[in-house]
Symmetry: C2
Subunit: 423 residues, 2 copies
C-alpha cells in the first residue's frame, strides 16, 4: 500500500516532469523555428549562388568580415560546438545567447559565397545558445543546465536533418568517446521531436534520401549475402580511416593557419583565394556549398550518389580538400553535410571498385564517415535507419561500427573526452 513518503515522492516527480516539459516545449519550439529560418535562408543563399555566379568572388571579403566580426563582437561564440560540449562537461562561463545569431548569419554568408561547409554545427550552436541563454535567465543549477544544453543539441540536430531519434542519441553520444550516459534520455528525445515538428510546422522540408537497392536483388545464403557484408566491413575500415584523415587534416591545417597567419581575419581571405584558384583549375563549382543538390547538370551531389549505378572515384577527395580549407581558415558552418558528401562519394568509389551496388555503399558511407569523425556510431546507425529504412540496418551497423573502431581517438570535436579508449 502506498504510504505518505511514497506519495510525496511521486508528487515531486510529477512536478519535476511538468517543470521540464514547461521548459523544454518552448525551448525546442524556439530552436526548431530558428533552424527552420536557417534552412530557409540556406536554400535561398544556395539558389542565389547559382543565379548570381559572380557571388563566389566575394568569398575572401565575406571570410574577412565574418572572422573580424566574431573577433570583435562574438565573445566566446567562436569556440562553437566545443564550447557547448565543454560547458556540459564542466560548467564555466556559459554559452552566450549571441552565438545563435552569429552562427546563423555567418553560415548563410559562407554558403552564399560558396564556402564548402555544413549545417549541423550551426543547428547545434543555435540549440546550445538558446538553451544556455534560457538556463542563465532562469538561474538553473549546474545539473539542470547540463541537461538543458544536451536537449539544445538534440533539438538542433534532430530539427536540421529531420532525424529526431538520431538527434537525441547524438546529443548523449557526442560528449564522450566510448560511452553513452542516460542523463537526459527522455528530455533529449522530447526536445528533438519538438524541434523536428516545429521545422515541419513552418513548412520547411528536408531532402528525402532514398536508395533503390533492396537485398533480395542479390543471391544470398539463407537471405544473408556474406560476401557483400564482408565487403561492407572492408569499406567501413576505409570510411574510418577517411574520417580520421579528415579530423587530422582539419586540426593540422588549423595549426598551420595559426602559426603562419597570426592575424585571424586574413586566413579566410587566403583560403578564399585558394578555393577560387581550385575552382578555376578544376573548372567546376561542384565542391562549393552544401553539395546536397546542384543547379548545374552533371555536378556530383549527395543526392546523385544515392542513385543506382554511379561511377565516381575522385569527388570525395576534392570535397575533402575544399572543406578542410574552408573550415580550418575560419569560415563558419558545420562539418557534417560535407562529411555525408565525402562518405557517400567514397562509397560510390568503393562500391564500383568492389562490385557492390553503389547506392547501398553510398548510403553506408554517408553515415559511416560521420560516425568515425564524431565517434557517434549508435546515433549514425539510427540516423541511417531513419533516412534509409530498417531494411539495411545490418550493413549500416557494420559500416558505422567498423568506421568507429578504425577512426582512432581523433575527432572533429576537440572537446570530446575519451571515456573508454578504443583498442
Amino acid at each position: 500500500m502506498p504510504n505518505h513518503a511514497m506519495l510525496r515522492r511521486q508528487w515531486r516527480k510529477a512536478r519535476r516532469t511538468a517543470f521540464w516539459l514547461a521548459l523544454l516545449l518552448p525551448l525546442a519550439m524556439a530552436i526548431g523555428s530558428a533552424v527552420a529560418l536557417f534552412l530557409w535562408a540556406l536554400e535561398r543563399a544556395t539558389q542565389a549562388r547559382f543565379d548570381l555566379p559572380w557571388l563566389i568572388w566575394l568569398m575572401p571579403v565575406a571570410g574577412f568580415a565574418m572572422v573580424w566580426a566574431y573577433q570583435r563582437f562574438g565573445g566566446t561564440s567562436g569556440a562553437g560546438n566545443n564550447l557547448i560540449v565543454d560547458e556540459i562537461h564542466q560548467p564555466g562561463g556559459g554559452v552566450p545567447l549571441r552565438m545563435a545569431p552569429f552562427i546563423l548569419v555567418s553560415t548563410v554568408l559562407t554558403h552564399l559565397v560558396g564556402g564548402s561547409a555544413g549545417r549541423e554545427g550551426t543547428a547545434v550552436q543555435i540549440g546550445g545558445a538558446l538553451a544556455g541563454g534560457l538556463g542563465r535567465r532562469l538561474a538553473l543549477d549546474p545539473a539542470s543546465l547540463r541537461i538543458l544544453l544536451i536537449c539544445g543539441i538534440a533539438a538542433g540536430f534532430g530539427a536540421v536533418f529531420g532525424t529526431p531519434l538520431a538527434g537525441a542519441i547524438f546529443a548523449l553520444e557526442v560528449l564522450m568517446i566510448g560511452r553513452i550516459q542516460y542523463d537526459a534520455l527522455l528530455p533529449a528525445l522530447v526536445a528533438a521531436l519538438v524541434g523536428d515538428w516545429t521545422v515541419l510546422a513552418w513548412g520547411v522540408g528536408h531532402v528525402h534520401y532514398q536508395i533503390s537497392f533492396i537485398p533480395t536483388d542479390v543471391a544470398g545464403w539463407f537471405g544473408v549475402d556474406l560476401l557483400l557484408l564482408a565487403k561492407v566491413a572492408v569499406a567501413g575500415l576505409v570510411f574510418g580511416l577517411c574520417a580520421r584523415a579528415f579530423a587530422e587534416a582539419s586540426h593540422g591545417l588549423t595549426a598551420l593557419w595559426t602559426r603562419f597567419v597570426p592575424y585571424a581575419p586574413l586566413r579566410p581571405v587566403i583560403a578564399g583565394v585558394l578555393i577560387l584558384a581550385l575552382v578555376h583549375a578544376l573548372d567546376t563549382r561542384a565542391y562549393l556549398g552544401l553539395g546536397v543538390w546542384s543547379a548545374i547538370p552533371g555536378d556530383p551531389t549527395l543526392s546523385g550518389f544515392l542513385q543506382p549505378g554511379q561511377a565516381d572515384y575522385t569527388s570525395w577527395f576534392w570535397k575533402f580538400l575544399f572543406t578542410v580549407i574552408t573550415l580550418s581558415a575560419g569560415f563558419k558552418g558545420g562539418e557534417v553535410t560535407p562529411l555525408f558528401f565525402i562518405g557517400a562519394g567514397l562509397g560510390v568509389a568503393l562500391g564500383s571498385l568492389m562490385g557492390v551496388p553503389t547506392d547501398l555503399m553510398a548510403a553506408i558511407g554517408f553515415v559511416a564517415v560521420f560516425a568515425g569523425a564524431t565517434n557517434t556510431p549508435l546515433a549514425c546507425v539510427v540516423m541511417g535507419i531513419e533516412l534509409f529504412g530498417a531494411t539495411h540496418a545490418v550493413p549500416l551497423a557494420i559500416g558505422c561500427f567498423t568506421a568507429y573502431a578504425a577512426s582512432g581517438h581523433g575527432s572533429i570535436y576537440g572537446a570530446q573526452r575519451v571515456a573508454v579508449p578504443k583498442t
Copy 2:
C-alpha cells in the same frame, strides 16, 4: 609518411583483429548451433504439451527434479544470467561450461510441463557458458575474457530472437543502468550476426511479427499525430510501472520462498500445484509456456495481440502472475518472452481504453515493458525496429524511453549495477 612505429602498431592491430575473428567465429557458430537446437527442442516440447494434455500434471515432479539436479550437480550454474553479469564486472570463479546443457535441458523441461517462462535467459546462459568455457581453456587475460563474455551474451540474444543488432546493443547495455560502454561494440556485433546466421543455417526460423497499422491511416498534423504520441507516452509510463511491479514481485516472491520453504526443490512442487490450481480455476491453459502461439483456438497469444482490433483487458495480468510464480519458485527459463506477452497484452488493454490502434500499442508494449524491466531502452528500440520496421521508430522510442524512466532502479537482473541513477 607512415614510419616504422606506426606500421608496427597497424600490424599489431591487424593481428589482434585476426585473433579475435578466429576466436569469435567458431564461438558464435557454436552458440548459434546450441540456440538452434534449443529453439527446435522448445518447439517440439510446446507441441508435445498440446498433443499430450496430461503432461502438465508432471509440473511439480519436473520442478522438483530440475531444482534438485541444479543443487546437486549444477555448481554455480544456478545463478544464471546474474553470474555472467557479475563475472563481466568482476572476474571471479568464471562461468562454468556445464551451465549450457543444464539450462538448455531444464528450460525445455519447464516448457514441456507448461511452466510460464521465456527463452532469452537460456540463450544468454548458453552464450555465456560457451564463452566462459572457451576463455578458460585458452587462459585468456581478464580483459579479453570480459569481451568474450559480452560477445557470448550478444550471440545468444541475437540468435534466439533473430535480432542481431539488438543483441549486440543489449549485451553492452544490460551490464549497467544508465550507461553503455563501447568496450566490445564491433566484436559483439560480429558475434550476434554470426549467431543469428547460424540459427538460420540450421533451418530454424523465428516467428515473424507484423503489425498492420501504418501511421498514414490516421489524421495528422504535418504528418505527426500529436495526440497519439501523447497517449503513447502515458502508456509508456504504465509499461514502466508494470515492469517495475514485475521486478519487485519476482524478487519479493523469491524472498518469500526462501523464507518459508527452506528446502529449495520443494518450492517448484508447491508452485506447480498452485499453477495447476490456477489453470483449473481459470479454466484455461493460455498462460502456460511461451505464449507465442497456441494450438487451442481463442487463446490469447503474443502473435494474436499484434493483430488489429483486439480487445483483452486481463490476459497481461494472468501471464504476470503465472510467470512470477513459475520463475520465482526455481523453474528454469527466461523472463523476456513472458515480458513480451505481458507488454503486448497490456498494450492491447491500454489501446482499447485510450482509442489507439491496439496492434500499434501491443508492439510498443512488447518492447517497452522489457525495456523497463531490464533497463535496456536503446536495445529495445532497435529490437522494435528490427521486428516491426522503421515506420514506428518514434512511438517505439517514446514508449521504451518513458518505460525506462518510470521503472525505477529495480531490474529482473539483480547483478546489474547502477552507473547513472534515474532522476
